[in-house]
Subunit: 467 residues, 4 copies
C-alpha cells in the first residue's frame, strides 16, 4: 500500500498517453452507462490496466480485478487501484496456487452471485466458470466431486481443487455466476482460440466479444506493442547489446513481426522460424533468413518464442546453445519453452542473477543459458509490458465491447457465440488516437465516396481487408 | 517482331525468377488440364505476363491476349509471345481507341463465340462483355442501338461504339460469349470492386475468382511489388535523388505502404495522406507524418497517388507545387490525378522531356511540375512494372484460379458469384516460392498441431487472419 | 556491500560480452606488465568498468577508482569491485561535495604521492591535479590560498575548497602527484577538448592519450552505445511509447546520429537541430528533418540533447512544450539543459515520479514536463549506461593506452602532448571483437596489398580516413 | 547531335537539383574569375558533369572534356554540351583505343600547349602527362622511344603508343603541358591514391587538390550516391526483385556502406566481405553478416564489388555461383572482377541480353551468371550514375578547388603536393545544399561558441573529425 502514491503518479502520466480511454470517460462518463454493472477483470494488473479500470468505474461500474499472469502485476499500480477504485487481487510473483485463488476471489461478488461482465485475457476467468459449471453438473447427476489427481497438469489440479472446495460450500456457485453473466470480452489470441473451440463444441455458456481481432488491437498491440517491449525486457533483464547479435524469432505472426522488426532495428541479424509458408515468405521479403531452430541453435545469441504454440524450444535445444545465450518467451504460455524439461534436467544448476533473470548451467558443459521470467511473458516479467499508448487502443476496444454487451443485454443481439466489433467501431478507436500524434485525416468528398462505394463517414474497408 | 529474340532472352531470365509458375508447368503440364480451353487475357503484356501465358499454354490452353493499360506493354515481350505462343493484341503507347479494339480482338475467337476463361486485370474484358450483353438485350427488346453520345466519358463512348458495331454484324455476339464463358479470374482491387458491385446488383453473368485478395497476391504484389517499382520508375523517368526529399504518399493501403516504405528507405521524408483512421494510425506507428494534401502541397518534392479513388491531386493543387515537383500515380486509373484539368488549363505548356516524362509549365508562375506516364501507372509506364518474383506469386494464383474454374466447370461448385481461393491454395502458392530464396519451413508435430487445432499440413490460420 | 554477490554475477555475465578485455587478460596477464603501477580511474563505476578494473589488476596494477558522474555508479558493481579487487570511492547519487571528495580520495595513494597512471573520463581527475599544481605555485610565490568565493560556479568552488584544504596539510601534494605521473588516457570528447586546450596553452603537465578518437571508441561507443542506451533510458524512466512520437535530437554528431537512428527505428518521427551544415546535410540524407528548436518546441514529445555544448534547451523553451514532454541529456554535462533556470523558475513545482524521473509543473499553465536524471546523462542515470560489448571496444583502447604509457615511460616517446593510438592498435581492438559475433575477415593477398599499397597485415587505411 | 535538345532539357532539370553549382554561378559569375583559363576535364560525361562544365564556362573558363570511363558517357549530355558550351570528346561505348585518343584530344589545346587546369577522375589525364614527360626525358637522354611491347597491360600499351606518336611530332609536347599547368583537382579515391604515391616518390609534377576527401564528397557522393545508383543500375539492367535475395557486398568503405544500406533497405539479406576489422565491426553493428566470399559464393544471388582493389571475384568464384547470379562492380576499375579470366575461360558462352547486360554460360554446368557493364562501373554503364543533387556536392568542391588553384597560381601557396580543401570550404559546400531541402540551421551564440572554442561562423569540427 505504501506504493499507492507512486502508482497514482504513474497512472496520471499514463492517462496523458491513453487518449482513447480518456475520450470514453468524456463521452460516456456523464450518462453512467455501467450504473449497476459488476465487472470482473482477469488481465495483467499494470498501470495501463489501472487506467482501464478507472475508465470502467468512471462510467459507473463496480469492479473486481485479478491478474492473468503470476509475474505481470505492477505492485504500485495494484496498490493505487486497490486504494482508490476497485478490489484488486494481484501481486508480482504469485504462486500458481495464489494465482487461482486470486481469480476465484475476483469472480466472487458474494451472495448475489458473480459479475455481470468479464474482461478476460487468456480466458482463465472464463475457464474457471466453464469448468465449475461442468463439475457442478456432474456433481448434481452423480454426486462425484472433481478429482485433482485425475490430471497430470499441475495447474489444472489447482483449478479442480478450487472448484471442489467451492462445490462443498455451494453446489450452485458457478451456475449462479453463469446465469448472471451478460458476457465476456476477451483480449488475446489464446483466449479467443479457446472461445471459438467452445463455440464449435456448443459449450460456450455466454456471449463473447473477441477484442483481439479488432484491427486496432491485433495489428497494434501485438505488433507495435511487442516491437517496443521485447527490447525493453531484454535490456532491463540482461543489459545485453543487441547490435551485432544473432536473434532467432520463433514465429512470424503479429507478435513475431514486431519482435523481428525490433531486433533488426536494434542492429541484430534476425533469423525467423515458421511453419506457415505465407508468413515465412513475408519474412524473406523483409530480408530475414528463414531457417529451422536446429539450423541455428548453436550459433544464435538470443531466442524469442512468439508462437502461441507449445514445445518450441526444448531442453535438448537449450543444451546446444552458446554460453549465455538468452532464451525468452513473448508469445503466451510458458510452455513455449520447455521449462519443465529444463528444471528437471539432471544436475542442472539455476543461478538467479536477479528476479526474472536466471542462468541455468548444464553439468556436462558448465556453460549456461539465461532464461527470462521463468519462460513466462518476458515483457511483463522483466519490463512493464506494453506502453500506455498502444494499450489505449486495445483497452478502448475493451470498453466499447463491454458497453455493447451491457447495452444489448436484453435485446438478444448477442447469442452464446463469439463476435468481433463492427468495423466502424474499430475505425473509431483509431480515430480517437490520431489527435495525440498530431495526425490529420483527409475527408472524402461525397463524389469520391460514391466512386468507391463507401459512406463518407466510413467504414472504409471491406470486412476481409487485411491492413 | 525484330524484338522477339530479345524478348525470348528476357523470358528465359524471368522463368528462373518465377518458381511458382515453373512448378505449375512441372506439376500440371503432363496431364494437360487446359486441353481444349480457350483463354483470353486482358493484363499488362509484360515479360512476366509472357511467362504466365506460356504456363497456360504449357498446360494445354489456347490463348489470346491484350494489355489492360495503354502504356504497359513491353514490345519485346509481346513480340516473343506473338511469335512463339499466343495471339497478342498489344503495343506500348496505344490510343484509347486502339486499346478497346485490342480488347475486343482478344475476346473474339471467331464463329464459335468467345473464350472459355478470362484472366482480367481491372475488369475491362469483363466490362465489355457485360455492357455488350446489356446492349444486346436492349436491342432485342427495343431495337435501340447504344448511343456513344449518351455519355460524357470519352472512354465509355469508345466502348459503346465498339458494341454498336458488333451489334450490327451479330446481335448475339456477347450473348454467345457469355454462354460459353466458364468464369473469370480478376487480378486487381479495382476489378474486384466492380465484380462485387455486380454481384450485389445481381448482374454478374458468370463466376469470378477474386485473385487480388489472395494473401499471396495483395500482401505481396501490391506491397512488395510497389516498394520495388516506385523508386524504379522515379529513377528511370527523372534520375532524381530521392534522399533528402519530401515525398507525399496519398493513401496507405497495401500499395501506399509499399510506396511509403520505399521512399523512407531511400532517404526521403515521407508524409502520408489518408481517409481511414486505422491506416493513418499505422502510418504514425512507422514514424510517418499524416497530414492533408493542402498542408504540404507547396513544400513537397514528390507526390504519389495510391488510392484507387479519383480526384486525389487536382490541377489547383499542382499549381501550388514547387518548381519541378514530381507527380505520379501508382494506384489504378489516371483519374487519381486531375489530368483533364491539367491538360485544359489555360496557357499551360507541355514539354516532353522523354516519353512518359512531361514537364507542365503554368503560365502564371513559369514554374513547372513533372508528370509521369500521363498520370497512368508510372511503374508500368516509366519502368517495367513489378519484378518477376513477386509477379510469380500473383500469377501462380491466376493459374490455380483458372484451373479451379475449368476443372469445376460442370460441377456447379461455382455460381455467378465472386470467390476467393481457399487458404490451403494460398499457402501452397507461398510454399512454391520459398525454395528459390533458401527459406526452410519448420514442421508442426501432430501434438503441436492438435494443441492449436490446425491440421499438420495446414491451413494454419483462420479465414479472418490479417498477416 | 550486500550487493557484492549480485555485482559479481553481473561481472561474470559482462566478461562474456567483453572479448577485447578478456583477450588482454589472456595475452598480457602472464607477463604482468603493470607490476608496480598504481592506476587511478575516474570513470562511471559500472559493471563494465568493473571488468576494466579487473583487467588492469589482472595485468598487475594496483587500482583506486571513483566515478565521473554523481548518478552513474551501479552500487552492486562498486560493491563487488571494492570487496574483491580495488579501492572504490563511488555510490549512486553523490552530492557534488561528495563527488569531489571521492575524486580526491582516488588520487591520494598516501605518502608516496599519487598514481602512476590515470584513466580519466571528462577530465576531472586531470583537472584537479592541474588546478592543484597551479594553486600550489601561486601559494609558493605569493602565499595566497585559493579562494572558493572567487568564482560563481558552484562546482568550481568545491574544487577550490578541496585544493585549499590539501594545501594546508601538504603544500606540495599535487606537485608530487605530477612528478610521479606517467600519463593519462582520456575517454571522452569533453575531456579530450580540455586536453587539447591545455596542450595549446602549453599548460599540460604530463602526456595524454586521446582514447576518444580511436575509431573503435568514438564511432562505436558514442554511436552504437547511445543507439542502445537512449531508448533503454527512456523506457526505464517513463515507459513511454516511442512509436508515433516526435523526437527532437539536438546535435547530429556521433552521439546524435546514434540517438536519431534509435528514435527513428523505434517508430518516432525525428527532427534534428544542428549548427554544422555538414552534419545537417547528413541528417537530411537519412530522411530526417532539420529545423531549429523554436520551430518545433511546442509540437514535439521527446527532446534529447547530444551536443557537448551548453544552453541547448532553456527554461523559456521548456515552458512552451506540450504537457508531459520528455526532456533529457545524453551529451555530457547537465548544462546542456538549463537546469538552473528550471529549478529557480518562480512557482515551478517538482514532482518526483521516481528517482531520476521528475515532473516539473509550471505555475502559469499547470502543465508539466518530465526531466530525466536531473539533466545529467540519462542513459547512466535512468538505465545502466552502454552495454558491455561496445564498452569492451572503448575499454580495450584504454588498456592498450595505459600499456603504451607505462611501457614507454622511460623512452621519451610521449611528451607533454596529446596523442591518439596508432591505427594498427585501433584495428587490433576491432579484430578482438569480431570472433564473438561470428564475423570472418577476408585476407589480402600480397599482390592485392601491393596494388593498394598497404601491408598485408594492415593498417589498411590512411590516417584521415573517416569510416 | 540530334540528342542535343533532349540533353538540354535534362540539363535544365538537373540545374534545379544542383544548388551548389548554381550558387557558384550566382556568386562568382559576375567577376569571371576563370577569364583566360583553359580547363581540361576527364570525368564521366553525364548530365551532371554538363552542369559542372557550364558552371566553369559561366565563370569565364574555356573547357575541353573527355570521359574517364568507356561506358559512362550520356550521349545526349555530350551532344548538348558540345553544341552549346565546350569541346567534348566522349561517347557511350568507346574502345580503349578510342578512350585514350579522347583523353589526348581533351589535353591538346593546340600550339600554345595544354590546359591551365585539369579536373580529373581516376587520374588518367594526370597519368598521361606524367608518362609523357617521363618518356620525353628518356628520349632526350637516350633517344629511345617508348616501346608498347614492353608491357603486358593492354591498356598501358595504348598509352605508350599515344605518347610515342606524340614524341615523333613534338618531343616537348608533354613538357609544355606540364609547364603551363597550374594544377589538378582529383575526384576519386583511386586517383587520389595515385597522387599520394607520386607525392611520396617525389614525381608529382604540379599541385593537386584532393577533392575526394572533402567530407562533402566522400561521405556524400560515395555513400549516398551509391545507395541510390546501385539499385537503379540493378533494376534497369536486370529488373530483378531485390527483396528476398542474398546480396554480397565486397568491401564496406563509403561505397560499400551505401551499397549494403541500399540492398538491406530493398529487402535483401546482405553479407559483407572485408579485410579491415574496423569496417567489418561496423558492418556487424548494422546487423550485417561478415563472411568470406568463399563462404557464400554458391548461395548468394547478387555480388557487388566496392573495394578499389583487384581480383575480388575470380572466374573460379563465378563458376561456383547459382544460375543467373548477378555480378557487378561499383568500385573503380573492371579488374575488381576477373573479366579477363571470364572472357578467356575455355568454352564459355557470352549471351548479350541487352547492352551492358551479358549472360555468361559455363560449358560444364550450362548455368550462367549475369555480368553488368562488362565489369566496369555498373551505375554508370547500366543506369545514369549518381543523381544530380549529390553530384552537386562533389562538383561544387571541384569548382572551389579549381578556383583555389587558379586564384593562387602566382602566390606559391600550392607546391607540387596534394592538398585537401580547408574545412570552412567543405562546410560552405554543405550549406549551399541545405536550402533546397528545407533544412534550417541553428546558430551558435557567441557564448556557446566560446564554450566549445570554435568561431561562431565555423569551422565547427577539428580536422580529424570523422562525421
Amino acid at each position: 500500500m505504501s506504493l499507492a502514491d507512486f502508482g497514482r503518479l504513474e497512472l496520471e502520466l499514463a492517462e496523458v498517453e491513453m487518449p482513447g480511454l480518456m475520450s470514453c470517460r468524456t463521452e460516456f462518463g456523464p450518462s453512467q452507462p455501467f450504473k449497476g454493472a459488476r465487472i470482473t477483470g482477469s488481465l495483467h494488473m499494470t498501470i495501463q490496466t489501472g487506467v482501464l479500470i478507472e475508465t470502467l468505474t468512471a462510467l459507473g461500474a463496480e469492479v473486481r480485478w485479478c491478474s492473468c499472469n503470476i509475474f505481470s502485476t505492477q505492485d504500485h499500480a495494484a496498490a493505487a487501484i486497490a486504494r482508490d477504485s476497485a478490489a484488486v487481487f494481484a501481486w508480482k510473483g504469485e504462486t500458481l496456487q495464489e494465482y487461482w485463488w486470486c481469480t476465484e476471489r475476483a469472480l466472487d461478488w458474494g451472495p448475489g452471485g458473480g459479475p455481470d461482465l468479464i474482461v478476460d485475457d487468456g480466458g482463465d476467468a472464463t475457464l474457471l466458470i466453464h469448468e465449475g459449471v461442468k463439475a457442478e453438473e456432474e456433481f448434481e447427476k452423480t454426486g462425484k466431486l472433481p478429482d485433482p489427481n485425475s490430471t497430470d497438469n499441475a495447474e489444472f489440479q489447482i483449478v479442480l481443487s478450487i472448484i471442489k472446495e467451492g462445490l462443498q460450500t455451494d453446489p450452485k456457485k458457478y451456475h449462479k455466476m453463469k446465469e448472471r453473466l451478460v458476457g465476456v470480452s476477451e483480449e488475446t489470441t489464446t483466449g479467443v482460440k479457446r472461445l471459438y473451440q467452445m463455440q464449435a463444441n456448443g459449450t460456450l455458456l455466454f456471449p463473447a466479444i473477441n477484442v483481439n481481432d479488432s484491427v486496432t488491437k491485433s495489428k497494434f498491440d501485438n505488433l507495435y506493442g511487442c516491437r517496443h517491449s521485447l527490447p525493453d525486457g531484454l535490456m532491463r533483464a540482461t543489459d545485453v547489446m543487441i547490435a551485432g547479435k544473432v536473434a532467432v524469432v520463433c514465429g512470424y505472426g503479429d507478435v513475431g513481426k514486431g519482435c523481428a522488426a525490433a531486433m533488426k532495428q536494434a542492429g541484430a541479424r534476425v533469423i525467423v522460424t515458421e511453419i506457415d509458408p505465407i508468413c515465412a515468405l513475408q519474412a524473406t521479403m523483409e530480408g530475414l533468413q528463414v531457417l529451422t531452430l536446429e539450423d541455428v541453435v548453436s550459433e544464435a545469441d538470443i531466442f524469442v518464442t512468439t508462437t502461441g504454440n507449445k514445445d518450441i524450444i526444448m531442453v535438448s535445444d537449450m543444451k546446444k546453445m552458446k554460453n549465455n545465450a538468452i532464451v525468452c518467451n513473448i508469445g503466451h504460455f510458458d510452455n513455449e519453452i520447455d521449462m519443465l524439461g529444463l528444471e528437471t534436467y539432471p544436475g542442472v544448476q539455476r543461478i538467479t542473477i536477479k528476479p526474472q533473470t536466471d542462468r541455468w548451467v548444464f553439468p556436462e558443459t558448465k556453460t549456461g543459458i539465461i532464461v527470462l521470467a521463468e519462460g513466462r511473458l518476458m515483457n511483463l516479467g522483466c519490463a512493464t509490458g506494453h506502453p500506455s499508448f498502444v494499450m489505449s487502443c486495445s483497452f478502448t476496444n475493451q470498453v466499447i465491447a463491454q458497453l455493447e454487451l451491457w447495452n444489448e443485454k436484453n435485446t438478444g443481439k448477442y447469442k452464446k457465440e463469439v463476435y468481433v466489433l463492427p468495423k466502424h467501431l474499430d475505425e473509431k478507436v483509431a480515430a480517437l488516437h490520431l489527435g495525440k500524434l498530431g495526425a490529420k485525416l483527409t475527408k472524402l468528398t461525397k463524389d469520391q465516396a460514391d466512386y468507391i462505394s463507401v459512406p463518407v463517414e466510413g467504414p472504409y474497408k471491406p470486412a476481409h481487408y487485411r491492413y
